[in-house]
Every structure is written in structure tokens, then in C-alpha cells.
């Protein structure tokens, strides 16, 4: 199969009104819909599909957007097959309803028709409330929290270290899966809600989070994400042509395609890792014109964390999977350019703590795969020293912030946290839910704080 070399826009098309209506027409309109129980962000497809079916399209859009400010992004990026669509009863008749795609359509339809959930004649602006909240990080968790608080009338400022908002949606996913124009439209709802967005404004100095509180913010939500790539251990000198997935994907978004193409076009390359990011990188490498793209993974195909459809798509497009092979180092040429990846064959041994059978290296099986470029996509972790930005907040070993996903509270009063910085690498939709959970806790905290403000009398009690 030939792949597009256009890396600028989403390759998978969406529904239009006809096809979305037809898809909604297949819905069984279940009692106690199972789809509505499958979403980490508590999306209610049972309601929005029914609304679409009964020609209440504005209501359907509202159902999605009021619950999830990034409804469009989730519609495009969610692994729906194992979430909302998993228990769809239409699969017993034919196949599950394509819920993610219907959700994406509703958002695109809103943009096409100019319908605004948080603006125009159908929206009643919330009464201004006194709270002032700082959100650190304009990724899915931060944006979701900001929207939720703004919906309640609080003033929210989002501080983003990078020049543009979106976090992984902008810098961590290739545009052929999720394009910038789509993100921009989605972010307009935040503008309608009056969220203030400060880009190129990192909160990354010692005690910076606590300083926000001191500067008059009533609460802080830390949603900084994971921006430090895990590296293959033992690499002393970086050969030219070796990239981390983070640099690789971000470079594309920053218009450095030509520069990358130099390392990939017409050449053999390797991607290390078996997750969704590794698949994305491999597919980008194909689109940059790589002659051969090898995906190197130390376990078996069924153990790969990437989604089934992603794996299949990569295989169909021509990515070569080299499984049960542990990368152990790199070979460089005389000029210091990458010449190969050293690999050791593995076999699956006993189960490890994750319940998966652990790869065991086979002695004497080392070989070298000749490639002139490679991308490491083996995970992300917190930025080194990031705990210094919020010294009053307890962190776990490795730097993840200690916070319960049920309330997103940290050990520090007034500081909340969510998204990948508390979970490790996870789905966009879970980060969205963290944002909502944190907003709930912050609202509660602001309420508590308001009633205990010094010098103020509590009106609820008789004197």
C-alpha cells in the first residue's frame, strides 16, 4: 500500500451529516447504554447519538462539548475499540457504532455551522465568581481543567512553556493523525469561555508553583505532562541520525521536515519501541520517504502496547516489525553518523510484575541491523529536577507527582495535579478526566476557602 507523503493534515476523513446520520441510524438506542459506561472522561454517547437520531444536533453537540472541551480531539484520537465501542450492542447485529467518528463529526458540524456551545444566543454566561486559578500546562489535562473552572465563572490563566497550546496534541502526535487546524478550532471554545492563555510562559523555576499562590492565585493545577524521553541505556556518544520520538515529532510540527528528510529519505531506519508513539514515528518515517522502516520491539506482537488497529495499519503501510529483539546499542561510522542498531534476540520467559511474559536475552545472538537513522520511542518521564518547581508537592520515585486520580489533590494545600505527570504515559481522554476531577476538587477547595476567609462571617450559621 502506498502512503501519503502529505504530513500536513489528517488522513482519515470524517463523517458528513448523511453518513453520521446513517451511523446513528444503526444505533440500537439501548436501555442503560453500555457505551456510556466505557469512557474514562464520562462521555455519554448513548445520549448524543440519540440526540443526533432525533435531529437534535445542537443538543448532541452540547452533550459532547459540555462534558469534554476536547471532544473533537478525543473523537479523533481515542482508542474507541477498547473504550466506548467495546460493549456496543450493535456488534451483535453487525458491527459497533463508530462512536468516536460520530463525536468528531458533531464537533466539525458545529464549526461548519457556526454553532457555539459556549457563546451566542444559547449560552447563559456564568455569574463571575471570585476565584482565580493558575493552570500549568496547556495540554489535555490543563485545558480541560481550565474550561471546567471557567464554566463555573472563575478566572483561569493557563501558563504554557511552549510557544503554542495543545501539549501532546500539538507536539506529540503527527499531523496526519491530528492536525493543527482542527486543534485551533477546538481551542476556540476555551476563548469563548474566557480562559486566559499565556504561551511561552514556563512555570519552571525553583518554587514557581508556590509563588503563583503567593501572587494571588487561589489554587494551582499542575498538568505539566512528561517531556523527558526515556533513553536506551549505555549510549555514551549520540551518533548523528539518532532522534528521540519527542524531538522527532516536535520537529515536524515546527516545520523542520526538510531537515529530517535528509536523514530518512531513501534510507533504512529503525524505530525502537512498541507503543502508539513508536507506531506514529514509524508511519512518519515512511511518509518522509524511508526505503525501509524497521520497528524494533523486545517482546511479541500481542504484547505491544500500541492499539490493534495502529499495528495493523503500520503493517499494511509497509513497516517491518522485528519482534523479540532487544536493542542494546548503536554502531556509528567514522564520521560519527549512525550506521546500525545492535540487537539481541530474546525469548519470552516467566511473567513479570505487569503480568506479561518477560523477554530474556539469548546469549550469543547479537546482530546488527544496518540503518542510517533511528528514533527512540521507549517512553516518557518527568523532566529532570521538575520537582524543584513545586518543592511543597510530594513526588514519587522517578518524579511523578503523588496525587490520587479520584481527586487530583497533592500533598500541598491549594496545589492540584493531573494528567501524565501523575499517571505516567496515558491516554488523552484520561488526562481530560483528570482536568475535570481537579476542577471539581478546586471548586470544592475554593468553596471551603471562601467560607473560611479570615475576618469574614459565615452567613450560614446563626450568630
Amino acid at each position: 500500500m502506498t502512503v501519503s507523503n502529505d504530513l500536513g493534515g489528517m488522513e482519515e476523513g470524517g463523517f458528513d451529516l448523511d453518513t453520521a446520520t446513517a451511523e446513528a441510524g444503526r444505533c440500537l438506542l439501548c436501555e442503560d447504554p453500555p457505551c456510556s459506561k466505557g469512557c474514562p472522561a464520562k462521555t455519554d454517547p448513548g445520549a448524543f447519538i440519540r440526540k443526533l437520531r432525533f435531529r437534535n444536533i445542537t443538543g448532541a453537540i452540547r452533550t459532547v462539548k459540555e462534558n469534554n472541551i476536547l471532544g473533537g480531539a478525543c473523537g479523533v484520537l481515542c482508542p474507541t475499540a477498547r473504550l466506548c465501542e467495546k460493549d456496543c450492542n450493535a456488534k451483535w447485529v453487525d458491527r459497533p457504532i463508530r462512536i468516536g467518528k460520530v463525536q468528531r463529526f458533531l464537533m466539525e458540524h458545529a464549526w461548519a455551522t457556526g454553532f457555539k456551545v459556549f457563546g451566542g444566543k444559547v449560552f447563559e454566561k456564568p455569574a463571575r465568581r471570585p476565584g482565580k486559578v493558575a493552570v500549568v500546562g496547556a495540554g489535555p489535562a490543563g485545558l480541560s481543567c481550565a474550561a471546567e473552572l471557567a464554566k463555573h465563572g472563575h478566572r483561569v490563566t493557563v501558563f504554557e512553556a511552549r510557544p503554542e497550546p495543545g501539549g501532546v496534541l500539538r507536539y506529540g502526535v503527527p499531523a496526519f493523525r491530528f492536525e493543527t487546524a482542527f486543534l485551533k478550532k477546538e481551542l476556540e471554545d476555551l476563548k469563548d469561555l474566557g480562559v486566559e492563555l499565556k504561551c511561552s510562559s514556563p512555570v519552571a523555576e525553583k518554587g514557581a508553583a508556590e509563588r503563583l499562590l503567593a501572587d494571588g492565585y487561589d489554587a494551582v493545577f499542575l498538568a505539566t505532562g512528561l517531556w523527558n524521553p526515556e533513553r536506551l541505556p549505555g549510549t555514551r556518544k549520540e551518533p548523528g541520525g539518532l532522534f528521540t520520538s519527542m524531538d522527532f515529532l516536535a520537529a515536524l510540527r515546527q516545520g523542520r521536515r526538510k531537515e529530517l528528510a535528509k536523514s530518512f529519505k531513501g534510507k533504512a531506519c529503525a524505530v525502537l519501541g512498541g507503543g502508539s508513539v513508536a507506531i506514529d514515528c514509524a508511519r512518519v518515517a515512511l511518509r518522509l520517504g524511508s526505503r525501509d522502516v524497521y520497528l524494533l520491539y523486545r517482546r511479541s506482537c500481542s504484547q505491544m502496547p500500541a492499539e490493534e488497529d495502529e499495528k495493523n495499519q503500520a503493517l499494511r503501510e509497509g513497516v517491518h516489525f522485528i519482534l523479540l529483539s532487544q536493542p542494546v546499542g548503536y554502531v556509528a561510522d567514522a564520521r560519527g553518523r549512525l550506521a546500525g542498531v545492535r540487537l539481541v534476540r530474546t525469548r519470552l520467559g516467566a511473567e513479570d510484575s505487569s503480568g506479561r511474559r518477560k523477554p530474556v536475552e539469548l546469549k550469543g545472538s547479537e546482530w546488527t541491523l544496518e540503518v542510517s537513522a533511528a528514533v527512540e520511542a521507549i517512553g516518557y518521564k518527568p523532566v529532570d529536577g521538575s520537582q524543584d518547581w513545586y518543592p511543597s508537592v510530594a513526588v514519587r520515585q522517578g518524579g511523578l507527582i503523588r496525587a490520587d486520580e479520584d481527586d487530583c489533590r497533592t500533598s500541598a494545600k491549594g496545589i492540584f495535579a493531573g494528567g501524565d505527570i501523575i499517571r505516567g504515559p496515558d491516554l488523552v481522554v484520561r488526562a481530560v478526566q483528570d482536568g475535570k476531577t481537579a476542577a471539581g476538587s478546586i471548586l470544592q477547595y475554593l468553596g471551603e476557602k471562601a467560607t473560611t476567609r479570615p475576618g469574614e462571617r459565615c452567613l450560614a450559621r446563626k450568630p
Binding site: 448523511d18 446520520t21 446513517a22 441510524g25 440500537l28 438506542l29 439501548c30 436501555e31 442503560d32 453500555p34 437520531r53 450492542n89 451483535w92 447485529v93
Partner: protein, 415 residues
């Protein structure tokens, strides 16, 4: 080889290879079109209504509007189509041509006059052109001139008068086409019989409004800012058409052969009309939706039905359901039944539970864990609505209960 079934019928003394006809409409507008329909297999045609050249009847634009049901297109069709705009002479030449080229097919010329003399002139002209029979259009629902279209069909004395006028000038069979926009079709049908009609065709379109624009508040079709109540047809009107068909077929006083139409798309629809008393059936909206080709499936479907059931002639099926059609008072209400569930095939959607609770007898509970309905049998009203919404055909069926079985009384609150 597949057995070849003889589908021929004789209608008003004319034999045709099958009972399937195009009805008088845009689908039968010219010989060029009708010839293609004959090639596809249609047994006859009601040639689009002709008027004299005394007045010209221009067509509004646009002419039609669709009624879609969800993603299902054309559940109904509204039209403000007028009579043929080709002029009388070209149509008569076309009829003569068709009769010569296709002698085995039935050409029924539809005519509509505005006075006695016009009816007479048209009848004579079409007879001379070689039409096998005439269809008298007493039923077009969007004529505004008094004494024309369905305004005739609603005034029984005019039906009789104009039929008699035509009867005097031609010996070929006369088929009077009825409007459904009345309470009792037997009255105008009997008037036509008194005037000398040989058969009745029905139904013409039902007066309706298919849609109202929400932005412009214009009922459709939007003819430059104006809508109008006009003829509505298609699958949505079939049950209404079957009713009129059966009522006329059951009337011993009428006793005329019938040509049935209204929402026919498949051989099943056609056969239902035949079982309700029609000798031939006519189709327009089905062709507007799918083209002439649908007749292939009508022919094949009806042939196989007859072969499988050992029916020798289509005529043997005409009116065969009528002995089983009664007034509701004739029902044996001592016999009762319930909806029976084959839960092995259940997909767990729970729509049965929703409708039973909100529109039935509250006979179902919902096992949320297993996602299955649980029936309390003696609360089931046997309305069968659960079976209508169930996505698995045949999962829910009607089952008769033994004599003496009793349904539980409905709970009374506030006693």
C-alpha cells in the same frame, strides 16, 4: 433452468404478460421512456394524463419534494406535477407508435377534460390513436379549476356525467381513477359504474404537506416562496391505499375489476394489492426512486411465490385475502396470547423493556447485569410493540395462551 411461470392477466378483456403497469405520471411521459420500461418487463402503462390543447398548464418549478425518514430516503414523495406538457399530438403519435411496436402490452391512455366536450374529444382522439383503454383522471389532487381533477372525484354526479360522456364516444374499456381524498371511495366508484366505467383504478395521491422549511417557513416544495397542499405518494401511503382497494373489492354492488396502486416497490407490495382485490397494479414513486429495473424483481419474486405455492394463475390470487378481512367486532376476544421471547438470540439492547414500560403493559423487568428482559407473562398485553423495536427479527413472537388464562389487572394507584 428456472421454471417459467405465466404471470399473464386479463384486465378489461385485454391480456397482458404480467400485472405490473406504470401509472400515469412522469414515468410514462413519452414513447421513448415507455419503450425502455417495456424492455425492462413492464406489462402495461397508464400513459401520462393528457389534456386538450385548449389551455396550456405550465409546470411549477420545482415540481416535487421528498419526505425522508431518518436516513431512509423517499419514504414519501410530494408532487405538484401537472398533466402532460408535450401537447396532444405528439402524445397520440407516441401511443400509435407504442401500440404498433408493442402489441402485447397494454396502453391505457389517461385523459382529463375540463368540460363534456373536452372529455369527448380526448376520448375519441386516444381511441383513434390505438389506446387499448382509457383511464379517466377524476383524481389529480392539485388542480385548482372547479370541475377538474379530484374536484370531479369528490363530486359524484360529475364522475357519472363525464364517464357517460366518454362512454358515448368510444367502445374501448374505461377505467375511472379515484382520489383517496374522500371518506368513502365506493360512492364515486359506483357513480363511475353508473356512467359506464368498466374498471376502477386507485389510489391517486393523498393530499399532504411533506415538509415545512424551518428557516424560511415555506411549506415544500418551495415554488419561489410559496408552498401548496398537493399529492403525496410512496411507501408511506400504502396502508391507506390497501384499505380503499379492499373496501371496493368487498363491495358486491360495485363488482368491477380493480387496478391498484399506492406505495408499491416490491413484488410483496404488489401481491398484497392483488390479494386485496387488484387485478393489475401500477407504480410511479417506486420507479421515481429506483428506475424501471425494479420490475425484474417484481416478476421474479411473484413467479417464485406462485411456483413455490403451486398457484397456476395470478388471477387465482385476486382478492384471496378478502374472506379473512372483517370488522373488528368479529374478533374472537376469548382467545388471548402473549409476546414470547427467544432470549438465546437477544443482543441485550433493552429497547423492548423501554417500550413495554412506557407504552405497553409494564410486563418486563430489566436484568441490568445480564442485560436481558425478564417477562411477567400475565402482565403482557400482547400489543407486540416489543417485537417491532427488537433488532432481531423473530426473536419475539406471538404465542396463544390456553383457554381460561387470565391477564393480571393493571395496578391502580391511590386506591
Amino acid at each position: 433452468m428456472t421454471k417459467k411461470t405465466d404471470l399473464s392477466v386479463t384486465f378489461c378483456g385485454k391480456k397482458m404478460p404480467n400485472p405490473f403497469m406504470l401509472s400515469s405520471s412522469p414515468v410514462s411521459n413519452s414513447a421513448e421512456m415507455i419503450e425502455r420500461a417495456f424492455e425492462a418487463g413492464w406489462g402495461g402503462v397508464a400513459y401520462k394524463s393528457m389534456v386538450t390543447d385548449n389551455i396550456s398548464i405550465p409546470h411549477p418549478s420545482p415540481r416535487m419534494h421528498a419526505y425522508h425518514y431518518g436516513e431512509k430516503r423517499l419514504a414519501g414523495l410530494q408532487n405538484v406535477e401537472q398533466t402532460s406538457d408535450r401537447g396532444l399530438k405528439p402524445n397520440l403519435l407516441d401511443i400509435a407508435y407504442l401500440k404498433k411496436r408493442w402489441p402485447g402490452r397494454v396502453i391505457m391512455a389517461s385523459i382529463m377534460g375540463f368540460s363534456n366536450s373536452e372529455w369527448a374529444d380526448l376520448a375519441k382522439a386516444c381511441s383513434d390513436a390505438g389506446a387499448d383503454m382509457l383511464e379517466l383522471n377524476f383524481s389529480c389532487p392539485h388542480m385548482t379549476v372547479e370541475g377538474s381533477g379530484c374536484k370531479v372525484g369528490q363530486a359524484h354526479d360529475l364522475v357519472e356525467k363525464f364517464t357517460a360522456t366518454v362512454r358515448k364516444v368510444t367502445g374501448i374499456p374505461l377505467v375511472a381513477k379515484m382520489t383517496p381524498n374522500i371518506a368513502d371511495m365506493n360512492e364515486p366508484a359506483l357513480a363511475a359504474k353508473r356512467g359506464g366505467a368498466d374498471a376502477i383504478s386507485a389510489i391517486n395521491t393523498v393530499k399532504g404537506i411533506s415538509e415545512i422549511g424551518l428557516d424560511d417557513l415555506i411549506p415544500r416544495p418551495d415554488v419561489f416562496g410559496k408552498g401548496a397542499i398537493s399529492g403525496y405518494s410512496g411507501p408511506a401511503v400504502k396502508p391507506i391505499a390497501l384499505r380503499f382497494m379492499a373496501e371496493m373489492a368487498q363491495n358486491p354492488e360495485l363488482g368491477l375489476p380493480l387496478s391498484g396502486m399506492g406505495g408499491i416497490e416490491t413484488w410483496v407490495d404488489a401481491l398484497e394489492f392483488i390479494l386485496a382485490g387488484a387485478t393489475t397494479v401500477q407504480v410511479t414513486t417506486g420507479v421515481i426512486h429506483y428506475g424501471y429495473r425494479i420490475v425484474e424483481d417484481m416478476i421474479e419474486g411473484l413467479s417464485d411465490y406462485m411456483a413455490l405455492r403451486g398457484v397456476e394463475a395470478v388471477g387465482d390470487l385476486v382478492g384471496k385475502a378478502l374472506p379473512r378481512l372483517h370488522e373488528t367486532g368479529a374478533f374472537d376476544v376469548k382467545r388471548q396470547g402473549v409476546a414470547a421471547y427467544d432470549l438465546d438470540r437477544c443482543v441485550g439492547c433493552g429497547q423492548c423493556y423501554i417500550v413495554c414500560r412506557d407504552a405497553g403493559g409494564q410486563a418486563l423487568d430489566w436484568d441490568a447485569k445480564k442485560r436481558r428482559p425478564r417477562q411477567t407473562q400475565d402482565k403482557c398485553l400482547s400489543c407486540m410493540i416489543c417485537s417491532f423495536v427488537c433488532p432481531v427479527t423473530g426473536l419475539i413472537s406471538f404465542k396463544e395462551m390456553p383457554r381460561g388464562w387470565k391477564r393480571r389487572e393493571t395496578v391502580t394507584l391511590g386506591r
